[in-house]
Amino acid sequence: MKGLLESVIRGLGNGSVYALLALGFVIIYKATRVISFAQPALMLAGAVAVSYLAGVTGFYPAVLLAALLIAGVALAIERVAIRPMVGRPVFVVAIITLGIDVVLRVVVNAFIGRDVRQVGDPWGFTQVTLGPLVVQSRWLAMMLVTAVLVALLFAFFRYTRYGLAMRAAAFDQEIALAQGVSVGAVFALSWGLAGFLAAIAGMFVGTGQGIEQMTWVIALKALPAIIVGGLDSLGGAVAGGLVVGVVESLFQSYQGEFAPWLGQNFAVVSPYVVMLIVLLVRPYGLFGTREVERV
């Protein structure tokens, strides 16, 4: 029981990182109807920026600076490569983001080099005791920061002018335009927000074990998360992220014991299995809206 709870807490910690990434995907999807495959590169870039800045400014300012920097990079990408494609098929735009991801990752990898880079976080592998449980403090930090960011984000969408504009544009772009919402600004804002969240997630991915060139694959686990939650649901993204994190953590703890025939490291691909099962039952995810189409 104790092991199970610890495993769940680890899963919730990692899951909240996936939730941050998934939120980025969903925010961009809601605004532009495109899945941005550039998120992995942005996440990695965020982690690398933190690792370079932490030595200069200290860890916490470095995180904020890096997040703002990556938000700027995301804004630039949106302006240069995505904005000219408005009105083109979404598949084409998605493949453009895939190309951007490939290019950006080469640049970021040049900054990483061949070794593992530490992000200079204060948590490392330190552990704290919660009653009978012994858990790593970084998981608690992940959960706490994600909870705060999600609360801020939902408040932003609920109570501010720009949040309202984004919701309006996501609901119907033409009507939003007619009401005076600058849809271009909404696109830019959504990419900026996604870049910001990706950078924070990247920092958390780098805590403890550090980052290397292959770390970008972790960001792709947010894809099962958004599919499980439903592509256009913010709440679904958080729920999907947590589900994916917990499932992965449970497989990590118990699959070797109960199902060794699945092979080593099955935990890494378990999110995709969950995704397939959910999709067989609900093609639009748990919280996604069913598309109603007219011919």
Partner: protein
Amino acid sequence: MTETRTSAGAPPDIPTGRSRRVRGRPLLYTSYAQDMALLDTPAKKVSTGLLVLVAFALAVLLQDRSLEVLAGAYVLAIGAIGLNIVTGYAGQVSLGHAFFVAIGAYTAAALSGPVDGENLGYGVAELWIWLPAAGLVAAAAGVLVAPLATRLRGLYLAVVTLGLVFLGEHVFKEWQELTGGPGVGREAAIPQLFGVRLDQDGPLGTKEQLLYTLMLALLIGFAVAARNLARSRIGRAFAAIRDRDIAAAVIGVPLTRYKVLAFGISSFYAGCAGGLLYTISGYVEPGSFNLLLSVQFIAMVLIGGVATVSGAIAGALFISLLQPVTRSLPALVPFISGDTTQTPNVFQVETVLYGLLIVLFLIFEPRGLFGLWIRVRNYWKSWPFSY
């Protein structure tokens, strides 16, 4: 009036079969057969014939090193044509092409491998047995995946097929009896045709010449088959589904059946390409079937031209020739290094070029290389007038 009719009930005078072309009027069709012909103008017949002749002549004109690169490019072109069928013609976005390529590669390798070797093998080295088998097993996998595709649309499907690549990678890394495991790999399929080993120098030519000719012949076969498919009833159904699937269903196209068919045919091409691809190097490693391979196929289709067979071939040639070209860059551009430990090295330049080419083509010429060709052709058609 009734004078135009020769007898009551007979159709008016519309020629249905083949009929003579009007000289000097290449775009004047006098029968449906002419309109639907694969090579519908005399100029196309001549240029395609010449192109095929030149391609076969290259087998004796080029050096073995170049032939090897081109042979690989032809195999990739078969795979790209396959992806074009499902993504270009039928409009179902698939990022999972690498998965089907892997299934083909391992089916072929297992069938032709030695019976008592380190890995699974059945000792059937004849190409005409393992090639269709590789295609059919991959097609079966495609048909199994297709039910998901019929429920999902657009980017949901893209993400699911991407998941397929990761699941496949895991299975192939773990199933060591079949694949040899990561970092170790196994020997690839042996191309043997009626007792003649094509991957060894023999009386008919060097290894590279034999493989090049084989791949070229197979590519022509697969390309003609794909063109035929595209102009048939099935091809028109695919196009209808791509343009608007609900509208297609309304006019009587059974969506499920044709989506399953699209995935099956596409996977058949992928499986055949997978079986052939590694005969050149003679070695398969389970780590090579990753997302990057899928992205490369997508790049070939997009850079070449969506929903065109000649475009897919051009894209595959373009992407395959990118590597030798970038490899020769360090000699020309001093700051690019051939050493992987230096920062601007050839591998980085190559990867950046992939990405940039995808982005630039999609922004500036969405029809790809095929679109560039259409522009050039239209310019010269009306030359010296601008329209």
